[in-house]
Symmetry: D2
Subunit: 309 residues, 4 copies
């Protein structure tokens, strides 16, 4: 028999820019929000009965309306606020997933109202909420880093298709795509927040709320520092060092997932032109590229539940 | 304690073009191959000991050498051949994942040696092999379809953020991203294939080998026919119809996953210009877009194992 | 002294889809329209006086309204219609440039109302109109073609940085980006067209109107046939053959411009693996790529005026 | 008669990364170089005679060899060095065009050998050289800026397709794409440079060499400051202010060309949800977008020659 399996639906890539003014000093938040709902949706698939469907258009409207009503602080809080709204207000919606990307801006020319889009990485988060519990995976992507030395690659398997020479000094470059899971989620309720009693944590125990911004900056710095400071024998080793450093520096995080393309920089052979090349001139290649993926976690990490979906 | 979790590594996006000549009639296969290996890789992460690492460069070389030695027929057979090579030849490699994309070409101007890249969708497959069993997920992406009528959207929830009007006639358009899992995998061994005894199926029972090309065309046609033929009350309903049609037409397939962006076409309000708009002029929007994701499967589908990883 | 030089402004990438119905047989046109106006615009630049500015929003609205009022036939006619509207209705607008891209669709599954986006190249045009004369450059892009043989490359300069070996048989592949200029423009006026007297040509001499669709198909076929049929000693030679064929087949066209990336396919050296490679296995490279640009024209081509701007 | 018109050929997008070491402090330059040559190339087009062709492969090799021999300082100097090499060493090459893009990196974590790719704009230059004279157009792209206030748009034409309301306070945002022409080019010859006598300027008059890096930073600051500081009545007015500021601050520059997409941020109508929206919540739109293009120049700017080709 043919049956319906897991499913979800929502509005992807709602682009919202929120301006806040403190006198002449303006602030902006620039987000890309994707919402996804699931629940009692069998009928819409099987018969086209839409009575359980909160439209994706309404989801988009909620993003804009909540940006006005509640403002936008840390993207994680905004994501949780939206996730809770959808689940708590709609009996047919049993679980919400809200993913947010944030683009960074800096001040332009010392002006209070002029901004310059920063070339920093994109900050991301994915929040899940099911009516009683919440999960949070934070992340970043497009953080491009490069070491000009302190990277070897030797001692690997030599099979009949291996021609790569060993090296004791190469460029190591990657575009960091990282996600990390928080052990627990205690969102601060904004003013008027229907879930405001989460201020004291989901178990009402008065624990402090998550400080997402501080946590993000700590992770970012851990990734950068570990990449710079690891004498690398392989990109796998560097990956593990980066993940371990995040966990060492951030007790609130229980698991880190990294996807690191090995952006190959090949030393150009200049011998045909009567030139040596003492690790000075490199060809930056596009494809193919190595791709190293790995997870670093605490052995007592709580179950992930839907966090990574 | 901090520990290493799931990990894999490989060479992504090896671009190989294979020419075959039958007199003046040439044939080409144009692929993008990504290989990923996992196994006894703890040391490389923890200490940088690379003695278990088959380099990603050797993986790339294997792709090119196997293209020469074995030719390239169906991408699924090529993916399986590579996956088996890596696992069967390297004790430290316990599982291989090989993903292939194929770009279609058609003949140009009736010539035997001139080709025109077709605008057809990209055909994909992901093969997994662990030394004893294999899994296959086939797929396609960028199959863009549009119905100018026979699509309604009514009867949905109206909450305080719902402003979308109901409609009895709209454009329905999407870019189909589909993947489907085969119930069993019995690769035909090419000449010189070390795993040639799979010719009789993994359990040696003489079952016929998979006919990947025929299966692909049947799925593609099922998706297109179901999209065209379904009077749609929602994109979810169309999604289910498409998945169910694939399963109905293809007994060898046990599960279909579809990700369907709702490529909104908004009817333009021309009333300010004294014009009506009887479903004739539409604005094709980019973002945001609806995103409908769902799975349709047989209730007795075998366990998926690593197939979807 | 600092002065204002050439300038123009407009609305880029207005996406319009137009449906036409003949009973159950529907037709769609899927366009991307960019309009650009220039004229008496000094004040807007120098003082911010907008009294000469037809807003880019109104330009967009005109695209949609004209799609309704006049329908969309050949994109060239639609571009001219818009260009004439802007110049003829606004004293401050002295020249209009309208660029259109068209995406091809084919019928899906034999249905009258279901479509499949074709992988064919993108068809383009750029129309200019200055109140009395019009110019038309048509084109296409992303027409990807490949010859598996009949391409040599020998006899080139050998300087101290030349290491490329000569070859008598290589793959030749490119993504054709072509534009061609029509010698004269005689748009057919649609019903209600204020410039309908152009039906008889700009000089009222009763010449037939341009048949843009037929011309386009003839050019496309000429490009494809010349690419397939030319035994190539260089991509430059093939470029010239393609342009010359267009001019030979299309008396209405006076100039062709081609930009042809040499999409390198490198023969993979399989000798390290004990394998030969008799022109069978190629690496399709991304960057860098050769880029061959050239113009082929009639020696009596009329002056181009603003056609290529 | 059918004839060959303007043509050129070369190697596009050669990616070169150059490392320089001063003890533990490393420096990197990360470039994308495109070279294009023209000259006595009729035969290659007409008959496939390649005896005048310096291969695009050799052009690429020259980029890498010169990066080693001469190092890479300002991209303008590197572009001129290459352009002069091609023309001065090959009788058949009469003109060279060398375009360079530079990607910015900053130091990572205080390390001397670890870098973080900066999100700054891409710096560009295009050099032309014809054997006796040189031209230089510098530029930048992807400099994304936004003002949250001090932007009006009123007093424009109202025709029958105008529905845009006037506004006294809107977001103004653009991605600056700017190019500026230097009045004269006096490249400093690097050590061993065959054109070293240009040290004293092309006319041997002992003028100081161009300081490209200083000039670039001055232009960049002028663009940013003018964008921030202009109370804008239209994006055209802002464009002119930006160009004029560059010319005012940089006597060495004679012409500025700007292409400014109006990245629309639409104020979201929240009235249906019982909310006002006092310029706080905006929808950042993708397409269509306004596109404002203009030139600001000195009235006594020298002839541009091939500079903009």
């Amino acid at each position: 028999m043919i049956v319906l399996g897991p499913n979800r639906y929502g509005k992807a890539e709602t682009r919202v820019v929120r301006v806040t003014r403190h006198g002449d000093a303006h602030h902006i938040k620039d987000l890309n929000v994707s919402t996804s709902l699931s629940g009692a949706m069998a009928d819409v698939h099987l018969t086209g009965d839409n009575s359980a469907v909160l439209t994706t258009d309404a989801q988009k409207n909620t993003v804009y309306a909540f940006a006005r009503k509640h403002g936008i602080g840390a993207i994680e809080d905004f994501a949780l606020l939206l996730a809770r709204r959808f689940v708590d207000s709609q009996p047919s919606v049993h679980r919400a997933r809200v993913a947010v990307e944030e683009y960074a801006w800096e001040r332009n020319a010392g002006s209070g109202h002029s901004f310059l889009r920063s070339g920093r990485e994109v900050r991301t988060c994915v929040a899940h909420y099911d009516g009683s519990a919440a999960w949070m995976v934070c992340g970043l992507r497009d953080l491009v880093v490069l070491n000009t030395t302190n990277s070897e690659f030797r001692g690997f398997v030599k099979d009949e298709y291996t021609t790569l020479p060993e090296t004791r000094d190469r460029i190591l470059a990657t575009a960091v795509d990282a996600s990390w899971r928080h052990s627990s989620v205690r969102p601060t309720g904004p003013d008027g927040d229907p879930g405001g009693d989460w201020d004291r944590g989901p178990d009402g125990n008065g624990e402090a709320a998550n400080d997402w911004d501080k946590s993000y900056e700590t992770v970012r710095q851990a990734l950068l520092t570990a990449f710079a400071g690891t004498y690398s024998l392989s990109l796998q080793q560097t990956l593990y060092a980066m993940g371990a450093r995040v966990l060492a520096d951030c007790p609130e995080i229980c698991e880190v997932r990294l996807s690191l393309p090995n952006k190959h920089h090949f030393l150009v052979d200049l011998a045909p032109f009567g030139l040596d090349n003492p690790n000075e001139v490199y060809l930056a290649a596009d494809r193919p590229y190595g791709l190293i993926e790995g997870t670093v976690l605490r052995d007592d990490a709580p179950a992930a539940g839907p966090a990574w979906e």
